[in-house]
């Protein structure tokens, strides 16, 4: 726990990290996966889970391995997913889906490490599939971004989807 409030990060840091979030969304929308991979730290943890509907009074402990985890990836596993997408054998995405990400509610917070910031944001994903149907997904994200040299790299991301039932047949896009 923090014993004293940390001062907010410098404006330049807030601008740089916010820009990195927008850049990331654009690279992914354009399927520039190599560009996206270059924005990730070597030790990245990438976690996405679905919520479970529980009564407010339910004080039971969370399940040991977490409810409804959809992604729990490291850099190697993310690379593998990207290799799959680039393999030329993904019939379900040829012709490609139209995906657009909107990033909002960005909040950049200082951490105890000088070169790291914690970032809250909201992602809205519009996905228009090859059969013409459109799905809209929203998620909250909590990230750790780290400054390495002149660049900010994504060191960790926890994504919480705002759905108890995934309103689609799969989840083949990055958040």
């Amino acid at each position: 726990m923090l014993d004293r409030p940390l001062s907010p990060p410098p404006v330049e840091v807030i601008v740089a990290v916010t820009q990195a979030l927008h850049r990331e969304a654009r690279l992914l929308d354009n399927e520039d996966f190599e560009g996206w991979l270059a924005m990730l730290g070597e030790d990245i943890g990438y976690l996405l889970e679905l919520k479970s509907r529980r009564f407010r009074a339910d004080r039971s402990k969370p399940l040991p391995l977490g409810p409804g985890v959809i992604f729990n990836e490291d850099l190697g596993r993310l690379r593998l997913r990207i290799d799959r997408l680039k393999s030329g054998y993904v019939w379900a995405e040829d012709p490609p889906n139209f995906i657009r990400r909107a990033v909002s509610n960005v909040e950049v917070l200082a951490t105890r490490a000088e070169n790291e910031v914690q970032v809250h944001s909201v992602l809205v994903m519009h996905r228009n599939r090859i059969d013409g149907t459109t799905r809209l997904l929203t998620a909250g994200r909590t990230d750790l971004w780290r400054s390495e040299g002149s660049a900010w790299l994504l060191a960790a991301r926890e994504i919480v989807l705002d759905h108890a039932v995934l309103p689609d047949s799969n989840l083949n896009a990055f958040f």
Binding site: P64, D83, A164, V165, N170
Partner: protein
């Protein structure tokens, strides 16, 4: 108890000819046929509702569906399990909106009617408004299903008082089921949570894919396989030593090489674990089953449960209309596995057959597009081809059920639709033909089978 709709006696046999090997496409989108499926199949079959490990303690409950009927599955103080409609007998509102939890009471949001975990009405808000004789508490509880049964951890329920015992319903298929439910001392459990997703597809496409469609894997999942496997496509399968086995609409397709599905899981430690326990598995279940387990395989329990033995994904296709289902997926593991192996299995399942899995994400859109395209007014009258391997039925001295040689086959799919037709056609369970006649007899335990099935 009967739930048939009145005034509909169509001849469902015109929708298929399984000796010829074709199906009519209308069974995948027609609203009347779907309604009839809810009455004749879902209101009469034994349906999977929970794994015992999901509700270990008194008061533990989860909510799910039997067909489109919402139900609560609750552990009782005496350790038994009850399954009841999740609907208040007063105005019908749902009494429990949580996915799972622990409680003493289910209280309806509308007028505060309260029920205990057995479904008995215990009281309500402003109880004084009812005069003597207005309400009989005993007859106004949450309606319990006709029967609840458990087979090696899997809990099933049926609305049908005339249904045969759960053991008879599963029948000789238990010989196969034990490969996933009983391959090690201690049995199985579900770990992690339940992932739910929605697909705009007919529920049967999911079931038939898992019951026998090994054929799609090499093409549909080419990208997934190459990314997991250093750029290599699926290896060709051994058509001589792989099989389809069908028992009363349940089905298991499998190889006998023992490792294929474990390779696809992509977790070497899990492979090591199973290789370590395989000699014991052979003692427990016989050599044949120890060789089948872990091979490229998939299976479905009639009508709407599927799983991949070795990969450990367990799933249910819940119908939500003729052209929609909700897919619920869990991870099933051996209870006695070390925690780090359980963790490896969970990660492997998520990475392969979760909604974001490298294999799963190729499937959904195929089933969705099969469903929507088959609905075209002209298209729907065209037949679909289900004839693959139709001449390859064999008698096998170890494998029970209707057995076909060669894993690339439509045999189990034909077996599934045959059972579908039997249930849509026959009013009485007793009049439905056994497919095939039971071979194992009334054994309580397939581990202890004498003679050739113990091989």
């Amino acid at each position: 108890m009967r739930f048939e709709r009145i005034g509909r006696e169509p001849d469902y046999s015109r929708y298929m000819d399984l000796k010829e090997g074709w199906l009519d496409r209308r069974i995948f989108s027609d609203a009347d046929i779907y309604e009839e499926e809810l009455y004749r199949i879902f209101a009469r079959s034994w349906l999977f509702v929970a794994h015992e490990s999901q509700i270990p303690n008194s008061g533990d409950f989860l909510t799910t569906h039997m067909g489109e009927d919402a139900v609560i599955v609750a552990r009782q103080p005496d350790g038994s399990i009850r399954v009841m409609l999740n609907s208040c007998p007063h105005r019908g509102n749902k009494v429990c909106f949580a996915d799972a939890g622990n409680t003493r009471r289910f209280v309806c949001n509308y007028h505060g009617w309260g029920f205990d975990t057995a479904g008995e009405l215990k009281g309500m808000h402003e109880e004084y408004c009812y005069d003597a004789g207005d309400i009989d508490y005993k007859n106004h509880g949450l309606k319990n299903v006709a029967k609840v049964g458990s087979y090696k951890g899997l809990v099933f329920a049926t609305f049908n008082g005339d249904a045969p015992s759960l053991e008879a319903w599963l029948g000789d298929f238990r010989w196969y089921l034990d490969m996933i439910l009983d391959n090690e001392e201690g049995g199985t459990e579900f770990i992690g949570g339940c992932i739910k997703s929605v697909m705009s597809a007919n529920w049967k496409f999911g079931v038939e894919n898992f019951i026998g469609d090994a054929y799609h894997a090499g093409w549909t999942h080419d990208s997934g396989c190459r990314s997991m496997n250093d750029g290599m496509p699926f290896p060709p399968i051994d058509m001589q030593n792989s099989y389809h086995a069908s028992v009363n609409g349940h089905g298991w397709e499998f190889g006998t090489e023992g490792v294929g599905d474990l390779v696809l899981l992509g977790r070497p430690k899990v492979m090591e674990y199973y290789n370590k326990i395989r000699p014991k598995m052979a003692e427990r279940l016989g050599e044949m089953r120890s060789k089948i387990f872990g091979s490229v395989a998939s299976a479905s329990i009639f009508p709407n449960v599927s799983f991949l033995p070795g990969i450990s994904t367990f799933r249910q296709w819940q119908p939500k209309g003729p052209m929609q289902f909700e897919l619920k997926t869990w991870v099933i593991v051996n209870k006695n596995m070390p925690d780090d192996i359980k963790d490896e299995v969970t990660k492997g399942v998520m990475q392969t057959f979760g909604p974001g899995g490298t294999f799963e994400m190729d499937d959904g859109e195929n089933w969705e597009n099969c469903t929507t395209v088959n609905r075209g007014v002209v298209t729907r009258h065209e037949r679909l081809h289900y004839r693959c391997g139709i001449g390859r039925q064999i008698e096998h001295d170890t494998l029970p059920g209707i057995v076909y040689r060669g894993q690339y086959n439509d045999a189990n799919q034909r077996g599934f639709y045959q059972r579908w037709l039997d249930m849509m056609t026959h009013d009485e369970f007793g009049k439905m033909p056994a497919r095939p006649e039971p071979q194992l007899g009334n054994v309580a335990e397939t581990r202890d089978l004498p003679g050739l099935f113990a091989l």
